[in-house]
């Protein structure tokens, strides 16, 4: 449903993305993986039309940069990692903004389906009780859930996530990822996300693009894409060995009383 062909992005003298191509199929959760500066967030920015690029990004065959802003927002929703609000908007007001691209005219207020989508999004994210709270009073994890509810209310076909659970406590991380997993279960939807944590990528991803220095080093089904050799190549270290070593910290050792 989303086709990316020969995507290149240049920031003044630096080539941040170099001819990257991949496709997203319905039902897929595609993980963009790679070390810092590999170009993961740049791909997200390019799809969201936040940077100038060369190459093609097509949604259902249509060039995304030629789509009008409203139909693009109905097709592609974006949840970014840096969301901060300066003013005391209520949770409901922020979520309702997700319906912006569906407005009919200057004066029309919210329609029936807008109300329904907002309710659904608030329910799905467990924010019903907070709907009248000011977003300034929420923790980082709760705020990120508000913006997730907003993008759910936006009801796009494709969800693009840039490190959606970055800086969040484990409980919120788990919560956000399982909510997105639920969302993906409805047919005709797809998810692309930038993930730093390779374990999270492996647990939730169905496909991956492994990036290094702006190039797609590997792509395809998640396990083959994140193979031991490829990861070692890209990260310059034995990622598998390190992950296992980390994991071994979590076996329950029998407690031996020193006395």
């Amino acid at each position: 449903m989303l086709e990316i062909k020969d995507l290149s992005v240049r920031y003044s003298s630096v080539l941040a993305l170099d001819n990257v191509s991949f496709t997203l199929e319905p039902g897929q959760w595609l993980m963009l993986v790679g070390p810092n500066g590999a170009g993961k967030s740049t791909i997200v920015e390019a799809i969201a039309q936040g940077v100038k690029y060369t190459g093609e990004i097509r949604f259902m065959g249509k060039a995304v940069d030629r789509m009008d802003v409203h139909s693009r927002a109905r097709a592609i929703g974006v949840l970014s990692q840096k969301n901060s609000v300066n003013y005391a908007y209520t949770v409901e007001e922020v979520v309702a903004l997700g319906r912006y691209a569906y407005k009919r005219s200057f004066l029309s207020s919210k329609g029936q389906d807008d109300e329904e989508q907002i309710e659904k999004a608030l329910n799905a994210t467990g924010l019903q009780a907070f709907r009248r709270s000011s977003v300034l009073e929420l923790s980082g994890g709760e705020l990120q859930r508000v913006f997730l509810a907003q993008v759910f209310a936006q009801d796009p076909r494709i969800l693009i996530l840039d490190e959606p659970a970055n800086h969040l406590d484990l409980i919120y991380q788990k919560h956000i990822f399982s909510l997105i997993g639920e969302w993906l279960k409805t047919g005709g939807r797809g998810v692309i996300s930038v993930v730093h944590d390779l374990s999270l990528a492996k647990k939730y991803g169905t496909a991956a693009v492994l990036l290094n220095n702006g190039k797609a080093v590997a792509k395809g089904e998640i396990d083959s894409c994140l193979s031991r050799e490829k990861l070692e190549d890209v990260y310059g270290m034995d990622v598998y060995g390190w992950m296992r070593e980390m994991l071994s910290q979590w076996t329950e050792k029998p407690f031996i009383d020193p006395q």
Partner: protein, 343 residues
């Protein structure tokens, strides 16, 4: 399914409208020559129905001096406050107001040139000053926006603020240059810079009404987009707001309206900064409520400021900009202190 209006309720509109009309009436009645409310109402009603008012009513003071001034004060107050609210949302900064882009400094420069070099339109006191101020406001708007656009196609917040600051500094230094060469006009220039609406008439009210209806209408119709921008610029783009176009349209509307106000009233500070703040404390940040509430509160605030300017040291009249800055600064500190202590 529960339905609710997002904007102000009709009751709130009625309350604001009533408060505004009461304040306007009070300001017409009070002054160096106090007038009974009954006489004021009679004079207005009789002239509206085209009849001759009964003798013994100071018709000239009411209809030709105070009423047009009071109308102008409320229009300027509403405009400046609306512009401030829009700018504070647009650039996500509660310290912004209509003058942030620098257009009002451009207007001031035009006014000072007119006063210093004696550019007058025969038959009017301030016609030349107003005309040149408006001309300069439009020229600076075009200059500022094309400069900002050439620098940064996305019109980012930082570019807007930076260009505004630089342009204002440039305009003020040219003003100071002019003042240092034309010492005999210093007093009138200084008074104009402090802002005043004394001596303004219905012709000014007509101009203000037209621009408030046009630019204010544009701003009010963009309440939703302002909400999106106030929540976050990237977020606004993601939900489908045409960020660049919306920003351009609002910046133009705000600057034109501010430019027109400055041309007529001189620089009146603090209304555009403080009144949106106070209104936000009551209505919350949603621009569908905030923008109309700011208009009403700005008008009422400026009416009281003008009343104080006229009556405090009567028969000497203070400049209204002086009063707004004085009240505004104190009120701002009080409100800020209280809200900090609560939060």
């Amino acid at each position: 399914m529960r339905k609710h209006r997002e904007g102000l309720s009709l009751l709130a509109y009625a309350a604001f409208g009533l408060a505004l009309i009461m304040t306007m009436l009070l300001c017409v009645c009070a002054g160096s020559v106090p007038i009974a409310l009954e006489n004021t109402l009679k004079a207005i009603l009789y002239s509206m129905t085209g009849r001759e008012a009964p003798a013994g009513i100071s018709k000239t003071i009411i209809l030709n001096v105070r009423l047009p001034r009071v109308i102008n004060v409320s229009l300027v107050g509403a405009s400046l406050s609306l512009c401030g609210a829009a700018m504070q949302g647009l650039i996500r900064n509660p310290l912004a107001d209509g003058s942030t882009l620098g257009v009002s400094s451009g207007a001031a420069l035009g006014a000072v040139i007119a006063m210093a070099f004696g550019f007058y339109i025969p038959g009017t006191t301030y016609g030349g000053v107003m005309l040149l101020a408006m001309l300069f406001a439009f020229i600076s708007l075009i200059l500022i926006l094309s400069l900002a656009y050439a620098l940064d196609h996305s019109l980012s917040t930082n570019t807007i603020i930076l260009i505004g600051v630089i342009f204002s500094m440039f305009a003020s230094s040219v003003i100071n240059l002019i003042i240092s060469f034309t010492s005999d006009h210093v007093k009138s220039i200084a008074f104009w810079m402090m802002g005043s609406l004394s001596g303004t008439g219905y012709s000014h009210a007509r101009i203000l009404t037209i621009f408030l209806a046009l630019c204010g209408g544009v701003i009010l119709l963009h309440a939703r987009e302002l909400n999106a921008l106030a929540i976050g610029e990237d977020n606004a783009r993601h939900v489908g707001v045409h960020v660049k176009r919306v920003k351009m349209v609002i910046l133009i509307a705000v600057s034109v309206l501010t430019g027109v106000c400055v041309s007529i009233s001189g620089s009146i500070g603090f209304v555009g900064l403080v009144m949106p703040h106070m209104s936000r404390m009551i209505t919350g940040p949603n621009h569908k409520k905030l923008l109309p509430a700011s208009m009403f509160s700005g008008a009422i605030f400026l009416l009281f400021a003008d009343l104080i300017a006229r009556t405090l040291l009567s028969p000497i009249e203070l400049q209204i900009g002086l009063v707004t800055s004085l009240i505004g600064a104190v009120a701002f500190i009080l409100v800020f202190y209280r809200s900090r202590r609560k939060g």
